[in-house]
Homo-oligomer: 399 residues x 2
Amino acid sequence: MATINDNYLKLPGSYLFAEIARRVAAFKEANPEADIIRLGIGDVTQPLPPACIEAMHKAVDELANADTFRGYGPEQGYSFLTDAIIEHNYKARGIDIASDEIFISDGSKSDCGNIQEIFGTDNHVAITDPVYPVYLDTNVMAGRTGTLQEDGHFEGVTYLPCDASNDFAPALPKERVDMIYLCCPNNPTGTTLSRAELKKWVDYAHENESVILFDAAYVYEIEGAKDVAIEFRSFSKTAGFTGTRCGYTIIPKTVKGRAADGSLVEFNKLWNRRHTTKFNGTAYIVQRGAAAIYTEEGQKQVKETIAYYMENARIIREGLQAAGIKAYGGVNAPYIWLKTPDNMPSWDFFDKLLTEVHIVGTPGAGFGPCGEGYFRLTAFGNRENTVRAVERIKNQLHI
Amino acid sequence: MATINDNYLKLPGSYLFAEIARRVAAFKEANPEADIIRLGIGDVTQPLPPACIEAMHKAVDELANADTFRGYGPEQGYSFLTDAIIEHNYKARGIDIASDEIFISDGSKSDCGNIQEIFGTDNHVAITDPVYPVYLDTNVMAGRTGTLQEDGHFEGVTYLPCDASNDFAPALPKERVDMIYLCCPNNPTGTTLSRAELKKWVDYAHENESVILFDAAYVYEIEGAKDVAIEFRSFSKTAGFTGTRCGYTIIPKTVKGRAADGSLVEFNKLWNRRHTTKFNGTAYIVQRGAAAIYTEEGQKQVKETIAYYMENARIIREGLQAAGIKAYGGVNAPYIWLKTPDNMPSWDFFDKLLTEVHIVGTPGAGFGPCGEGYFRLTAFGNRENTVRAVERIKNQLHI
């Protein structure tokens, strides 16, 4: 009989956010009148920048006409988008990225999840704890881990604890690791790593011939990073593309891994083979929308949206502090990571927040054992709801 | 040092269509004046149906306004699209598909490529020869094959030869196989399998507890197919979505595989876990466009486009025959599969066609050793170019 990939059975039944959605739906069914405010899943609420809207309307019109119609595009993305990204995000910062070192995708989640396919299954993986679940789950599926232990950790994975005691900056591992997932600004803790902290990891990767899988921005500003790091970036949070889907991955040709025969192989080549074989490019309309972010108006509009969310973050952070709740992050990141009152288990706090004040957040334990006793709120709500949520926490939550 | 996935090194350097693009680009650079007609990659040329255009404009406008903005959608797709598909493509044919048995994606290529992840690596794979390269290449990457042999076959794979001698209908394999890729109407041969032929495969899968991975349409009309088949479908060719990207996969809950402990596991559950962990849904705009295909106008417009391409197919088929070239397919499928004159190697015929009459097709050998001596042309060009291409073949090609 056909067999299944048994590694899947090592995973808990449902993906974190699916479990949250399930609990919220159940609560809503039982309390149809409840006015629920969602600060959980990290979804944005502000509309797309007008420059993107205009560009997408234009792209839709192009598809309506045989003379301007676009079918299959390059799997790696159109040059009108890749050129704009390289110019604005890298060249302007003095970082040299070639046009065949960038791969446009339908979002960072896909790339962060798929990247491990081009690595051997014998690699030792390091992740922070707490962590964005995709890094871990996709390595479990690929068989790079053992089974889930009683302490909530998978056998064979190196966890790098991040909590208040180390200012959420992971220490270098004691054992050698090959694949290191770093996320900065961090999801879920909302904290950032300093240049010095990042340099420490780049140096570690050089010494140990490891690869850093870096989710976010600007790792290549650190000297030597281009030899050891793959970078993932997304338009989801900056430009509101969570439902429009566009991201990209940078794989410098200098990042290499060892083949079984001992030879060195560029990960860029392997990813290009994967990307062209299993993916057919991001929708033309979407790529046009993303490119519009790099116009003058687009840049201005994106900055306004970011400022809007950052003001939300300030409101949440200061509101929590006023309510006597210890809060981290939310300064250079849209996530606020709070310590649950009296060390309450984080799923209990999830239920408490939902039932008492009808606010949806994300339990820290969902991001890993070290997230237990913590809880994530996001700054992506609209202003009115954000203010109302903070008022409810300050005035109606029994803590 | 971090190791690579060595299975990638078993593959030839570039994906078939990337190699074609490379050769065409080189020719174009050397002959900038050449008026190249592309009947190679299977890309469509006709604009999107007006119903889709209208729906997508409306969707773009929704994203421009905070009140109607859409962020993350369900990873499995919006119900406005899944309901329409189930209603029109299944229920109307008496086939019962539940709403949690359908998964919207960014296209069939992704799904056909990713589906093998939920199977054990010990499964024995059967593919037709010639075949759409994605089925084979993704299994090579996953380690389900040995190395490439001198005869052009990968060790450990069961190839099902399809050529003129068996009317392009594969015979059942002599050895047991677990995963069977079938494509109907067939790409590249443009031929179809009769209900009786399909039934033979469904019965085989029942007897051998195999799973059929069926790329196209209507396998569930065959009795018993819902227990043994996963179906992939796409809007690319019917509605011109090659650059807009939308497809879907049907995994009935009755399709099961064996776990290491002997228990039976639904592939549906595993795919749901994969889809929610590694994918974040198809762009909202695109899903709205796809749903518009199922309106009355949308259906009418799609039928017109299909009729247009089918007329192209007839022109190519009859033109080739008039030129003394033996041609197959092109009746219920948009692909024409021709026998190269004097059994010329198919890459030689590719170069001959490109340099002599500036037409791009696809060499049969690119689809597998049994495709050697054959060549694929597609009916997706516009009418004028299709007619001109056929005239060039009839009047200017030296055969």
